[in-house]
Symmetry: C2
Subunit: 398 residues, 2 copies
């Protein structure tokens, strides 16, 4: 009887466990799959045969699991090369694993792709399926990625609160949000705006370069008009020479396995931008926060739509594995706005592997310092309803 393995890779999200639950519950329906192994710490767990038995988990555990943030099987930043993938395939052969479900980003899709090709070449029957997840929302083909809606909800709620805080104690406030190449998550900062002059008043995403002069004069201009200014900035924001600001400001230049410098887990970019604004604008009260890991792993704050879609993507991968050899699960939006609806479809692994998507031009304003209503229409259904807030400072005086 063939076995299956599932694992989770890359940065955790708030719903990657919901996708795992989708895989588990759908697998229960197929008697032709014997064991469903959960590999601990992704490909590292596969090569070490560090497996747990996922079919043993009870219904209660599965529901708690679907609601838990982060990757319950553990994760890995490893980017397997051909030799590494060979080791994985050897474990598959040894353990009679003929189904491989991999929940992750574009690197994970690529790992699926490499291993599946190797298996084909070796004449080994393997069904490899990629289940998309990323808070960055930067995968190709799919309309949006599971994990994005939940992280976007965190960012939207944070900015709603921070804008009210900035109204209460006015000044300049700069929030640095995750996003190395794609500005989707930073753009979500505008989703909770309810009143005229609600912040963020300026939004900078990696899709547009900005000079420090332009940044400071933008801030100064808003501050002179409103007496306060709330700014959302992607960690991947680039100077006009194309170099990321974080690289110019970082004391340390730690690089990950992919050769990227560390952007998250440090407040240095936020502090640098705050110092620049303070120097330029005549105001003492300048504050900066870096949202860090809270935006991707926070307990008890999921987008319901995101959870459902993540779970369905996991189930769908198992369904596809009955009739197809490989693929990545993708989401197609069939209706927008209040009638928001989606359907899932299969795309080739090669269409997703190693590729990333940026925000389309129509989501960014002409000046490159704000987000358009087209983005709000796109993103709002993924986040779900946000709380309505009250601020009284604009009520008529007596």
């Amino acid at each position: 009887m063939p076995n299956a393995v599932v694992s989770q890779s890359g940065g955790p999200t708030g719903v990657i466990n919901a996708s795992l639950v989708g895989v588990i519950e759908e697998t229960h329906k197929y008697s032709e799959i014997d064991n469903l192994y959960g590999a601990i710490h992704a490909v590292e767990g596969i090569v070490k045969e560090d497996f747990i038995d996922l079919k043993k988990l009870g219904a209660d555990v599965l529901e708690e699991l679907a609601a838990s943030p982060s990757s319950a099987l553990g994760s890995s930043r490893a980017k397997p090369d051909a030799e590494y993938c060979e080791k994985i395939l050897n474990v598959f052969k040894k353990r009679d694993i003929h189904y491989f479900f991999y929940i992750g980003g574009n690197d994970s899709a690529n790992t699926c792709y490499i291993i599946n090709n190797m298996a084909s070449a070796a004449g080994y029957e393997l069904r490899s399926f990629h289940i998309p997840k990323t808070v960055d929302n930067d995968l190709l083909v799919t309309d949006h990625c599971p994990g994005y809606g939940t992280a976007a909800k965190f960012v939207a709620c944070a900015l709603m609160g921070d804008d009210l805080d900035n109204r209460a104690l006015p000044g300049i406030k700069i929030d640095v949000i995750m996003g190395r190449h794609a500005g989707f998550l930073t753009a979500a900062s505008v989703l909770g705006k309810q009143r005229p002059n609600d912040g963020p008043h300026l939004v900078y995403v990696p899709e547009r370069t900005v000079s420090m002069d332009k940044f400071c004069s933008d801030v100064e201009s808003v501050y002179k008009k409103l007496g306060r200014c709330l700014v959302a900035v992607s960690e991947g924001i680039c100077d006009t020479d194309g170099v990321v600001w974080a690289q110019k400001t970082a004391a340390q230049e730690e690089k990950d396995a992919h050769g990227n410098i560390q952007l998250s887990g440090s407040g240095s970019l936020a502090d640098f931008l705050a110092a620049q604004a303070k120097t330029r604008v005549d105001i003492r009260r300048v504050r900066a926060d870096t949202f860090g890991y809270l935006q991707r792993s926070f307990a008890g704050l999921q987008s319901p739509v995101d959870v459902t879609e993540a779970r369905n993507c996991g189930r769908q991968a198992v369904i596809y594995s009955k009739s197809e050899n490989s693929g990545s699960v993708a989401i197609r939006r069939t209706a927008g706005g209040k009638d928001y609806a989606v359907e899932l479809f299969r795309t080739e692994l090669a269409n997703v592997a190693e590729k990333t998507k940026s925000m389309p031009d129509e989501f960014i304003n002409a000046e490159g310092n704000g987000i358009t209503n087209a983005f709000v229409e796109y993103a709002m259904p993924l986040v779900g309803p946000l709380p309505k807030t009250q601020y009284l400072g604009d009520y008529p005086r007596v």
Copy 2:
């Protein structure tokens, strides 16, 4: 007919608007109070007669208001001296204001106290009531402060997520949490712990000094044992010479109106601690986050108990004003654990004004790097139930 004024001072919280709603709804019941003015930006609004009419707000607005984070009337960091209070009293006389409700911390209680004494000396009939709020939970007399439970819930949910994130991608993670002199909010980092070895593994509060050597050796020791380490640190953490680490590390030394250096709104302490740990412990993956303003103003994440108590404190201030000249509303815990219950009582303004409370010794472990179960029993009812999470990495291997 006498009028009343209410305003909000100091750092915003997640439920300071619930206290405002309590004042408004209770005032509606008393025909002897004519207008209820809301002063915009606290004492600054009073001296400028920058008032709105709070009795005009409809029931729907009040419910949205009670659920909104931050101070809906705006706030102020001003600390009025005698001359300033004289101006306030003059406005009270001019506007026939005979009821003063002030929602804030110990400085606000002091402002109430000064103005009330001035009014008595001048033979002006004034009822001055302080309604407690602070995320720091550092007011005297009261068992706990409205605003604390909601901020503690944010911190607990953040650490629950961050601990699962740290399990998924192990390393050293340092979280810097608000708290200049009191460690209550940082201590809340332990409230979501569910499994053996759940983090935070080390917690440092301002009530105990710590040398950088001790900090690093603690982190090293946990890392060697668990292969990861999650640390919660108060922004007010002090070196063994009594100087706050943030002061030793801050490039800038901005001071507020009270002569305190800026601790929040900068990532420099977190980055400094991360750099120290990285130098000392042989590991590349060290990350640091500073929770910043998110922990005090985040939309849609209130503790239900906290909201109810904050609202009741606002109502009770109005009730006391019928029969008493002045006071601060305080909370007495009449039962703990599952039977948690409180009653409100009045204390003299002088008992609360300008004073702060630290965590009692029994809440901190002997080594000064952890939080005891006595704290958990104290704080858990204030936060309310936290989500149960699942991590699968400790399940038996197959």
